[in-house]
Structure formats: structure tokens, C-alpha cells
């Protein structure tokens, strides 16, 4: 089963590249935000930040073939001087959330930032915030049905934004799982065997196997332990092969 590892390596690299490209974009936004914050000695107000983030994400969201359907920066509580909670987030034209139009304009997400409001939601408890905050590293959340901001099956990519050693927020982007399937399926399909990409919880992102629907959980005994101890391709006890897709934390399972 290990015969075709070159192709497996190629597939893993291609999957990694797909996300690395998007992460590179988010990382550039991160750098620009950190620069602004440093230049102002971490004394920043929401409007300053909004102006920068809007300028950064708009061109990406406006591209007709954009994979990204939502993007922006979410501030750490009490980091900004004029507001405790803040989201600078824009929705792309492919994101039909809350709209009756099939191709709405790029627009800002209207979020409730007042903790005393019924609509307020503490975003620091959500996975796309929680994981980067605890690991200090980039993270892919999902696939999950996001009924609050996209109304669809979504992946959220986030990168911690730092000032010194403190996380002052996350920069991130939303992707539709539909679009990701179109990108990834040809890559795993080319392996010529049953291939499935899962996230760290074992949730299927895409699979060539009709018995493994996206969103179902592939329960492989001891998979995470096995992958934690080695990088690259590992053979599982049941003869299947698994590999971590580079820096993405996604896992490719063959068989």
C-alpha cells in the first residue's frame, strides 16, 4: 500500500498549497495590522483599524472568482481604546447571507458588539478564536454549518495577530465547502484509490468514497497519536495509510 508514496506526497503538497495560498493572503493582512498597531504603540481606535482592514480585504473579496467569501479582523476584547468588542469583517459577493439577491454586493458584516445586547455573542469561545489563542498558530475551523454569517457549509481560516507576546486579535477568511470540494476533489481523485481528507476531529472535508459524506466523522482508532509522533506518511494498524497535509493540520487517509 505504501508503493505510491510519491503521488501521496504530491497530493499532500497540492492540498497544502491550496490552503497555504489563502493563509499567505491572511498572513499579509496580519503583518499590515501588526505594523499599524506597532506604529501607534498599541493605542488604536476602531475606525483606524476598520479603514485598514477594509482596504486590505476588499480587493480580494471583489475578485469574481474569489474562493474567500468573508474576511477581516476580529479584535481581542478590550484591545481597542474605544470599544471592548470589535469585528472588522466583510462579506463577499458570493456570500448570500441574509440577502434575497443571488449576487449581492460586497458589504460589511453588521455585528453586535454591546455585551448587554440580546444579540451579543462572545466570540472568544468559538473555535476559530479559541484554537489560535491557545496554540498561537493558524487554524482551520470546520467544515461546519454557519447559520449566523454565511448560512452555509463553511471553513474558517484564522491566524493570530500579535503585539509583542499578546494576541490582539485574529485575521481570517471564510470559504464555502462547496468551492473547496471543487478544488480538492481533483487532487485526491488523481491518487487512483479511495482517498479522504479529514480535519483534526476526523470530520470529512472531501472524499472520493460515496460512503463517506462530507461532514461525517471518520473514526480511526489511534490516528492522532500515530500522526503526532511522525511527520510524513504513516501506515495504520488496519493497513490504511495516512499523512498530514503539510502545515494545514488536515489529514489525508487512503483506503
Amino acid at each position: 500500500m505504501l508503493a505510491d508514496t510519491v503521488t501521496v506526497d504530491g497530493c499532500v503538497r497540492a492540498v497544502d498549497d491550496t490552503f497555504t495560498t489563502i493563509f499567505a493572503q491572511i498572513d499579509e493582512w496580519r503583518a499590515r495590522i501588526e505594523f499599524l498597531v506597532s506604529a501607534h504603540h498599541a493605542i488604536v481606535e476602531a475606525p483606524q483599524l476598520d479603514e485598514l482592514v477594509e482596504a486590505l480585504v476588499l480587493s480580494e473579496l471583489e475578485r469574481p472568482d474569489a474562493l474567500i467569501i468573508g474576511a477581516g479582523f476580529v479584535a481581542a476584547p478590550r484591545f481597542l481604546t474605544d470599544t471592548d468588542w470589535h469585528l472588522a469583517w466583510w462579506l463577499g459577493h458570493a456570500n448570500t447571507f441574509g440577502m434575497d439577491s443571488v449576487d449581492p454586493a460586497v458589504r460589511r458584516l453588521r455585528a453586535t458588539e454591546d455585551p448587554s445586547s440580546e444579540n451579543f455573542r462572545d466570540y472568544t469561545t468559538l473555535e476559530w478564536w479559541r484554537v489560535p489563542a491557545s496554540t498561537g498558530r493558524r487554524h482551520i475551523t470546520g467544515p461546519y454549518v454557519d447559520y449566523l454569517c454565511t448560512d452555509d457549509y463553511t471553513l474558517t481560516l484564522t491566524i493570530p495577530v500579535m503585539h509583542g507576546r499578546a494576541m490582539i486579535g485574529v485575521a481570517g477568511a471564510d470559504l464555502y465547502v462547496n468551492d473547496i470540494e471543487r478544488t480538492l476533489l481533483p487532487l485526491v481523485g488523481a491518487l487512483g484509490t479511495t482517498a479522504t481528507i479529514i480535519n483534526t476531529s476526523g470530520r470529512v472535508v472531501v472524499s472520493t468514497d460515496a460512503h463517506r459524506p462530507t461532514g461525517s466523522v471518520l473514526r480511526v482508532e489511534g490516528l492522532s497519536e500515530r500522526l503526532a509522533s511522525t511527520s510524513g506518511v504513516v501506515e495504520l494498524t488496519d493497513g490504511r495509510v495516512a499523512a498530514v497535509c503539510g502545515t494545514t493540520s488536515l489529514i489525508l487517509v487512503l483506503g
Binding site: W89, S116, E118, D122, V145, Y147, S201
Partner: protein
């Protein structure tokens, strides 16, 4: 990205400030359904119905400012004149009042005839219609629970338990909102965007009737017990049980409603509790 809700209309009466924000506002998700776009004819009536239900359910609370006519029209996907028409109807029923000026707008009022409205709706629907609504809703909610059991990770189970724990069973309004939140979270775990959207749509249409039984403390306890059973079934990946418990819970509620309807029908049109 799942984040703070998209609506931004403020409230006039300032609530007690919470120093520590709650992780999940139980009402957030159910409220998201209130302003979801409408499909079908008789749109002014539909707008009116949905807002009336939301006020009766306590999703929109006393003194709360509604979005402007233009904003509301956009959210519901109707013409501004349609939104205006619906607001006028609500004003004439005393559910909403409109103030002019800089801090003006339309506000929910407490002195409307809430129970009468929902009672009239129960009387206006036949037993067949009510039962059929429950059958359809049980099909959607039951399938969601069944799928969730197959597709749930231990983190998801923890999350559902926190959602149940956050429901204040002593309050009728909080339990209703919690019912909506819990069902929406279960639907989300099915990983089906369509089931989630259908759940939201059915909640907006049907929840005020179906969960009328939650005015009785005993039914609030039963509801909590049913939630715990569903989560236990999901945690053990027992999809069949998750579906059965969900279906039975909905069945029990519709039977309460049909009994209530018998009483209401007997008491005549102007009865209010």
C-alpha cells in the same frame, strides 16, 4: 465565520449590564430566524405574523427598537411599503408604537393583546393542519437529530450540554428561546445546511404554536428531560434513539396544543387567558 449576530437594532430600556458576557446568548440563534427573508404571497400578512409571533414569544421584548422600514424590507426581502403596512397593522393591535424624532423609531410595547393573538391563530387552524405541521417538523427535527448522532464529536456533545445548562427553566420566555437554540444547534450538527435552513424556517413559522405548552412548568421540565435524552443518544451515537426522542417530544407538544385548542374552541373567540 460564525460570529456575533448580524442584526443591529438597539434597545431603549437599558438591561442590566452584564460584566461577564455569556458565551452563548440563548436567544441569538432563534432571533436570527425572525428577520429571515420571506417567500410566498400575502407578504404583509407574513411579515405581520412573524413579528407578532416574535413579540408573543418574547424574542422581541418590551421597549425593543425594531429595524427601520427600509431595513426591515431588506431583511424580509419585501417592498418598503409592505413592511410599512405590516407595522401599521401591529400598531393598530397595540403591539408596536412609533415615536418621531432623533431617538424615534418603532418600539415593541408590552400592553398588546398577546395571548389573544396566538389563541386566535390556534382557533383558526384545523386539527388536521396543526397535526400535519407537527408531522413535517418532526420529520425535519428527527432527521437532524439522527444525523447529528452519527456525525458528532465529543466537543460537540459538550457544547450541547452547555446549551441546555444555559436554559433558565423557571422562565417561560427563556425556555422557548432555549428550545429554539437547542434545536438549531442539533440541526447544525447534522452538517446539513439545508436542514439548518429548514429548521430556521419552521421555527419562525411554527414554534410559537408548537411550544405553547412551555407555559406550563411541567412541560418545561419534560422539555429539559427530552433535551438531555437527545444529547445522551447523540453522545452514544444512537441515531435511532435521538430521532425517536425528538419525535415523541414534538408529538407530546402537539397533543397538548390540540387539547388546548379544544378548550379554546369551546370558550369562543374573545377568550384570553
Amino acid at each position: 465565520m460564525s460570529c456575533a449576530a448580524h442584526k443591529c437594532y438597539g434597545r431603549v430600556t437599558s438591561q442590566e449590564k452584564r460584566i461577564v458576557p455569556q458565551s452563548i446568548r440563548p436567544s441569538t440563534t432563534a432571533r436570527a430566524a425572525v428577520f429571515a427573508p420571506l417567500a410566498g404571497g400575502g407578504r404583509a400578512e407574513l411579515v405581520q405574523q412573524r413579528l407578532t409571533d416574535a413579540i408573543e414569544l418574547g424574542l422581541l421584548t418590551d421597549g425593543e427598537r425594531l429595524p427601520s422600514e427600509t431595513e426591515m424590507a431588506k431583511k424580509f426581502g419585501v417592498a418598503t411599503v409592505t413592511a410599512r403596512e405590516a407595522l401599521e397593522a401591529l400598531r393598530s393591535r397595540g403591539l408596536v408604537e412609533t415615536k418621531r424624532g432623533r431617538d424615534g423609531g418603532s418600539f415593541v410595547t408590552s400592553h398588546g393583546s398577546r395571548d389573544t393573538g396566538i389563541h386566535e391563530r390556534v382557533r383558526g387552524l384545523s386539527r388536521v393542519e396543526l397535526r400535519d405541521m407537527a408531522v413535517y417538523y418532526a420529520a425535519i427535527a428527527g432527521s437532524s437529530a439522527e444525523l447529528a448522532a452519527d456525525r458528532t464529536t465529543p466537543d460537540d456533545v459538550d457544547h450541547l450540554e452547555r446549551v441546555i445548562a444555559a436554559i433558565d427553566g423557571s422562565s417561560e420566555a427563556a425556555t422557548r428561546r432555549g428550545e429554539g437554540t437547542f434545536r438549531l444547534e442539533v440541526a447544525a450538527l447534522s452538517q446539513s445546511a439545508r436542514l439548518v435552513r429548514e429548521e430556521l424556517r419552521l421555527q419562525a413559522e411554527f414554534a410559537p404554536l408548537l411550544w405553547l405548552c412551555l407555559r406550563e412548568p411541567e412541560y418545561r421540565l419534560r422539555s429539559r428531560a427530552a433535551h438531555h435524552s437527545v444529547v445522551a443518544a447523540i453522545a452514544t451515537m444512537d441515531g435511532e434513539r435521538a430521532r425517536t426522542v425528538t419525535r415523541e417530544h414534538i408529538g407530546e407538544s402537539i397533543e397538548w396544543l390540540l387539547d388546548a385548542k379544544t378548550d379554546l374552541d369551546a370558550k369562543g373567540p374573545n377568550y384570553a387567558r
